[in-house]
Symmetry: C2
Subunit: 139 residues, 2 copies
Amino acid sequence: MTEPERWFPSHIREIPEEDCRELLAAHEVGRVAYSVGDGRAPVVVPVNYTMEGDALLLRLGPNSNIAHHLQSTPASFEIDDYETYNQSGWSVLARGHSRWVDAADHPASQRLLPWAEGRRTLVVLLEIQELTGRRLLPA
Amino acid sequence: MTEPERWFPSHIREIPEEDCRELLAAHEVGRVAYSVGDGRAPVVVPVNYTMEGDALLLRLGPNSNIAHHLQSTPASFEIDDYETYNQSGWSVLARGHSRWVDAADHPASQRLLPWAEGRRTLVVLLEIQELTGRRLLPA
């Protein structure tokens, strides 16, 4: 087999947990991922979010499929950014547990304005149990 | 509770399957997601990819954690793009099954040059079983 290796591949570096947290705090859109318990592949959906302490808050339509599944379940949240021209980028993965919470107990949810239409009155809190990240540095 | 609804939220539209396929063919980086079978939240990791027919091909380091988990498992692949300034965007989710394949049997893998360093000689094929997408149109 021909092996088309590039001469200058990008370097992978771990991102320290504290920097992962700063990246999460600095962004507003990521992807929530969860399993639906039927042995099929996970669901991955972009949503906007905000941080509250060490947790993430989402606002969803109470009758949506995604809200149904996030009522109390293991869930992940991923953010990333990359540049095609020099093949660099970074990603942060927060793995934890999601649950419905009372919006009144989580004032940060008030400044989280959902992008999409519909009454997104349900607040989901994603508690982070494991926070990791990787950076891909140009060679 | 105060309800800070915006006046002009973005509209959600389903993306037809054929357009989802075109979007997959037109991009080169997405996020592969899989469960690790320990009841914890899914892993979601960005990788570059290429299409071969209706399937996706990835190239990974044979000794990597991700390769280990993708040997034969339900797996998803997500791509998206969004604009913060007008709160619009789109996302495509391919759910299916991943398995290791022989690179020689999948010539498209030859033009897939991994961004990251390391000998990424293992080719993973993600067979798409369900392909859906959503567009968020500015109001």
